[in-house]
Symmetry: C2
Subunit: 315 residues, 2 copies
């Protein structure tokens, strides 16, 4: 049985997995990224993560069918990481460095794209022809699958759906624009909305929860909602409103078979999904059409990046 | 030499052209659409437009290499117009009706998609791999070309970039949403912004121009700007601001080689393009990258729809 090595490079950990023909992870390793530090050092630890995962399974890296890498930043078609803000990489030949080390065909793509490809091959978007995966994390990340292939534009930097403006002159975004989707719909955006509402309502249940927890988190407003807090209701309603706007925009452009969302807030389940699906269905251009995009939760979690990277050879 | 018949069905006219191997229109015809009226009647006039164009060139429809049709609305992959609001069509088998009439392979797509394909093959987006064409008309229409093919999603209804929200809770849109790109950046949107500014500034040069013309048009603000009117400056600055936001959103998602814009307002040339390109370049996610999307004006005008339709067989 063939096996495929997938590496998901994050700001904190380098996660490596060995994926079999059933798209399941049969061995794993994890080493610290310790970014930022010189590329040569991080590269050694990436190689080490491959060796460790192979040792666990008792196989040799050189016998893998392929190696795939998902890396934050702009990864071009020559296998070069042109720029990764998180890792401090500028024009590093990551693909060829790994390929020459192990003598195995190696593929490289952006980490969000690899995760979307994982969901497409083996997760919530399985069976789709066109799919979009949106992750609500520190930012709003996205990966676009068109006709079974990752779409990243003519310069490999496309798919930045999180950096589309939903509110001209809205909230400041780290990208330099104002009112980007991610300033409202990321976990960070939800925390900001919650914090602003708590400041205006210091006697609310939401405020008490935050005080007990010692901080405002992305769960504060949903926990308050469950306790009947009007501020929790107001914040989560607003969160759904902006998220629905961004998702309806994405559907009006792509009309994918499946749009899957991931990130911690999706653990709220139907509390999030029911009002979200309703708001989107009322807004999409095709609201009267027979066929509309299905909105589902990503099913692979952090494994999506490893599985998608491992199987980049299947594109 | 082969020839290709292209039909561009509009709300007012059915325009037919015969296109040669150099992607040039060598004969034309035009008949009134007179919509809305029964499909059978409009169909007869579509057939008639083909016969008239062929007569002009002295050729037979049955000798054409192919026939292509661009039609407003949702045109599915079976060649059926599922729904066209403008024409009153619901599930009409337009492709097969034309194909059986002339015995020539016939193709059908949405009119904005056909026009984008025309610009890609023979116009401003020639040579691109990925391109987006945005037309600023009564609404904001768009066509997306990915890897040389029209992209319209899994239900053939994608590409509605004009119906992406730029301002949550903004201006009412005909689609039912609020704050869509087209409510700000269409000719209709520009007229609305101009009218609102004139109402607040009845003594402005812009107000005088509108009074002399007997109406506010999409040219009023730009004409006022040329005469040094501060209201003209304010309105056109605002127009560029929202248009730049919508275009930067589109680039952040697609990162196409070329994004071409069309519509009457593009006749303003550098007065529009210079501030637009500057605003977009400051906003795109790839502002520090070596390769960025080129923003150009569509070059085929109304012929884009005919040429693109005629050559749908080249996809």
């Amino acid at each position: 049985m063939a096996y495929y090595i997938g590496i998901d490079i994050g700001g904190t950990n380098i996660a490596c997995g060995i994926v079999d023909d059933n798209y399941e992870i049969v061995a794993r390793s994890k080493v610290k990224t310790n970014a930022p530090r010189p590329y040569a050092e991080i590269l050694e630890d990436i190689k080490q993560s491959v060796r460790l995962a192979c040792e666990e399974l008792g196989v040799k890296p050189s016998d893998a069918a392929s190696i795939g890498i998902g890396c934050p930043g702009t990864c071009n078609s020559d296998g070069v990481v042109e720029y990764s803000n998180n890792l401090g990489f500028v024009n590093v030949p990551l693909r060829s460095d790994i390929e020459s080390e192990f003598g195995v065909s190696t593929y490289l793509d952006n980490d969000a794209n690899a995760a979307a490809f994982g969901e497409y091959l083996a997760g919530a978007a399985k069976g789709a022809k066109n799919a979009v995966a949106i992750t609500l994390g520190t930012g709003v990340g996205a990966g676009i699958i068109i006709d079974g292939k990752i779409y990243s534009g003519s310069n490999c930097a496309g798919g930045e759906i999180g950096h589309t403006v939903l509110v001209v002159d809205g909230r400041d975004c780290t990208c330099g624009r104002k009112g980007c989707f991610e300033t409202y719909s990321s976990a960070t955006g939800l925390i900001r909305t919650t914090r602003e509402a708590i400041e205006l309502n210091p006697d609310s249940i939401a405020a008490k929860i935050a005080e007990e927890d010692g901080r405002v988190s992305a769960r504060t407003a949903y926990n308050a909602l469950k306790q009947g807090c009007p501020v929790g209701k107001q914040v989560t309603d607003e969160f759904v409103k902006y998220l629905a706007a961004g998702i309806a925009n994405t559907i009006n452009i792509f009309q994918p078979d499946i749009l899957c969302i991931g990130g911690g807030v999706c653990n709220e389940g139907d509390t999030l999904l029911v009002p979200l699906r309703k708001a989107v269905s009322e807004q999409v251009y095709t609201k009267n059409s027979a066929k509309n995009t299905e909105i589902v939760v990503c099913s692979l979690g952090n494994d999506a990046g490893i599985i998608g990277a491992a199987l980049l050879c299947k594109q």
